[in-house]
């Protein structure tokens, strides 16, 4: 698959694309922070599951154990973050391109 020629001619166009998509960093930063928060919560849950099962057995809110509370919590937090994402989205960023 020798397409060196094709990519040569496309390279300039490519740079243009990159410049266009890097025009909206602030909104992206908020997204990445929210993503990092969730990733840490998920990783924390998996860490407990694999290496500290006794913590998961502790009863917390309403007589429910940590396993159920944390697991349900991860689902609810995902839904809440999704709601937040509706508001952090800056209108006008996602200019229709097609």
């Amino acid at each position: 698959m020798d397409d060196r020629g094709a990519s040569q001619t496309q390279r300039d166009g490519g740079r243009g694309d990159a410049a266009r998509s890097s025009a909206a960093p602030p909104a992206h930063r908020a997204d990445l922070v929210l993503f990092a928060v969730y990733f840490l919560l998920y990783a924390g849950f998996m860490g407990l599951t694999a290496f500290s099962p006794e913590t998961l057995a502790i009863r917390v809110i309403g007589g429910v154990n940590v396993a159920v509370a944390y697991g349900m919590g991860l689902i609810l937090i995902a839904v809440i973050l999704a709601g937040v994402a509706m508001f952090t989205y800056r209108h006008g960023d996602g200019s229709p391109t097609s």
Binding site: F35, A50, L76, T97
Partner: protein
């Protein structure tokens, strides 16, 4: 265990399939262009698309597999719910908008927007095809599993019905009707599961009379005659007949409630879980007894009383029992699976193509949010559906996949019919999305761009339709061949391969300016080959696919655990960075 094929189920089911097909033909009249066929003209509203995401995603494995796993082993099935939903966070915050901005019809378009390289298109199309096929097999197997009790037909008939119906949907109308089928199915699934969970909470928990039940046996004689508890099997002597006459319920019940009451009455969502934790539950284990111990091969179903608090902790099922042991490789295996679920969602081809059915990047984000809300709500329900089935007295101890439909039957025959029909449409919808993604990869990316055979849009659509027929046929054959394999086990592999092959290229392209064309191609191919090879040589494959004993399988396999994601995702990233740096240095020197 045999089930009655119910006439009402048959009627509801036929009505469902007929109306889905009619809708598909009607919507497909106008979709003649490639834009209409592959991307529904990019004119689907964000709300409809969001629910259609839920329709695409809540496949047979989600619905039947997770509920069944919770019903048999408790918490472990819920780990899948958590992982499957968490993956949407990657889709929402990392993938959704950029991929909509970059692409036209397929995921290969988006990867390639910057470089215009045939190599990238080819690599992305190959990975799309491989992942689609891996994800198609469990869906087809699920179809066969469902059709058996529902219509009383053999496994292959179920696979054929789904295959033919789906191919017709895809060939007639493409993405427009696939989207509407998914929308209808997604909403019905969430609505009826909510109804079912409300009924579970209203029923509460109850202890049936007669104490802890007795073991039941099923024996197969040399001439094929089946004996249940020593008597010939018949309509009045089934596996659960004796249980039902003595205790009023079949398999799966409560043996003691907190405060030793007989029934709890209606419970709230938290109180239900708390009451379950303080109860004792009768679960069933199956033991195969072979000659010479007995005269004929016999399956013994033995009651095991377990504490609810133990059932609501991870590690009770065969899949996750490594969590309760000391072996590090077993734990890494499970962490690797959970990583694959997290990273795989945003790399699945039938999810990615749905980003091109909406008008713009803002709609892509909004529809992801709607999808997350619907899917998250559904996954909360799965825990109640599973625990409800576990205590419903209606389990089939030979088939965990039937737990959710049988739970519905414990309430009413009509509900059973509706839930079964929805589950079947679930298979239908997911399969059509996958076939369409695969057909797009073949016609638009491989034939259109790589080989340059197909230039105009009308021809692309025609080739895509031929590709759909071939893919649909192939999926049917594989669905029949792999009938014995566990559904959620196969889905896990599809997530591993999708995440390893697609995610590094997608993420780095969006966030690292130094990414080069060769880096993207290298990352896709290395991720794909490494994860595919790992999966095919894993201890799980040795044991479950090639049929070696568990001990032999562990010894023969060159890889330490079965789920590759923990190794192959970082490998994909490393490959991309290394090749990009090398090729950039070369370009700078030249």
């Amino acid at each position: 265990m045999s089930h009655d094929s119910s006439p009402i189920a048959l009627v509801v089911f036929s009505l469902f399939v007929a109306s889905v097909l009619a809708l598909s033909f009607w919507l497909g009249r106008k979709a003649k262009s490639a834009g209409g066929y592959f991307a529904a003209h990019g004119q689907v509203g964000w709300f409809v698309n969001g629910i259609a995401f839920a329709g695409d995603y809540l496949s047979a494995a989600s619905f039947l597999g997770i509920c069944g796993m919770i019903a048999f082993y408790g918490y472990d099935g819920f780990l899948y719910s958590i992982g499957y939903l968490a993956g949407w966070i990657v889709a929402l915050f990392v993938i959704a908008e950029p991929i909509r901005r970059l692409g036209k019809y397929t995921f290969a378009d988006a990867l390639d927007a910057k470089f215009g390289s045939k190599g990238i298109k080819t690599a992305a199309a190959i990975s799309t095809l491989v992942v689609s096929v891996f994800y198609l097999i469990p869906q087809m197997v699920g179809a066969g599993v469902l059709i058996k009790p529902l219509l009383g037909l053999p496994h292959w008939a179920g696979v054929l019905i789904v295959g033919v119906t789906v191919t017709m949907i895809v060939v007639t109308a493409g993405m427009v009707s696939t989207t509407w089928v998914q929308f209808i199915k997604g909403s019905l699934l969430v609505v009826f599961c909510t109804v079912l969970v409300s009924m579970i909470l209203w029923r509460g928990l109850a202890v049936p009379p007669g104490g802890v039940p007795e073991a039941q046996t099923r024996t197969v004689l040399a001439d094929g005659t089946v004996l249940i508890n020593g008597e010939p099997a018949s309509a009045t002597n089934r596996l659960d007949s004796k249980l039902r006459s003595r205790h009023g319920v079949g398999f799966g019940s409560v043996s003691r409630l907190p405060g030793d009451v007989e029934r709890t009455g209606p419970l709230g969502p938290v109180a239900y879980l708390a009451a379950f934790m303080d109860s004792e539950i009768v679960t069933w284990s199956k033991r195969e007894v072979r000659p010479p111990e007995v005269e004929h091969p016999t399956s013994r179903f033995e009651p095991v009383v377990q504490k609810g608090s133990d059932l609501l902790l991870p590690g009770a099922s065969p899949t996750f029992k490594g969590l309760r042991g000391e072996q590090l490789s077993k734990k890494l295996d499970i962490l690797s699976l959970m990583l694959a679920l997290f990273c795989g969602t945003a790399s699945l081809p039938h999810i990615l193509i749905r980003y091109y059915t909406v008008p713009n990047a803002s709609a892509a984000r909004k529809s992801t949010v709607v999808g997350i809300v619907a899917i998250g709500f559904f996954y909360v329900l799965t825990l109640y559906l599973g625990l409800g089935a576990m205590t419903s007295g209606a389990l089939d101890p030979t088939d965990s996949n039937m737990s959710a439909p049988l739970l519905a039957r414990s309430f009413s025959e009509t509900l059973f019919a509706i839930i079964s029909a929805i589950a079947f449409t679930t298979v239908l919808g997911t399969v059509s999305g996958l076939v369409l993604a695969g057909a797009g990869a073949v016609a638009h990316d491989l034939l259109g761009n790589t080989l340059g055979w197909v230039r105009d849009d009308a021809a692309k659509v025609a080739y895509a339709k031929v590709a759909s027929v071939v893919l649909g046929g192939g999926a049917m054959v594989l669905g029949i061949l792999f009938a014995q394999l566990n559904v959620s086990f196969l889905v896990g592999w599809a997530f591993n391969i999708a995440a390893s092959a697609n995610l590094p290229a997608l993420v780095m392209l969006l966030f690292w300016k130094g990414t080069t064309r060769q880096g993207v191609i290298g990352a896709i191919m290395v991720g794909l080959i490494a994860s595919l090879g790992w999966v095919l040589l894993s201890p799980d494959a040795m044991e479950k696919v090639y049929g070696f004993s568990a001990a032999d399988a562990a010894g023969m396999s060159p890889v330490p655990f079965s789920q590759p994601a923990l190794v192959t995702i970082p490998l994909g990233f490393l490959t991309l960075v290394a090749i990009s740096l090398l090729t950039r240095a070369k370009a700078a020197r030249a």
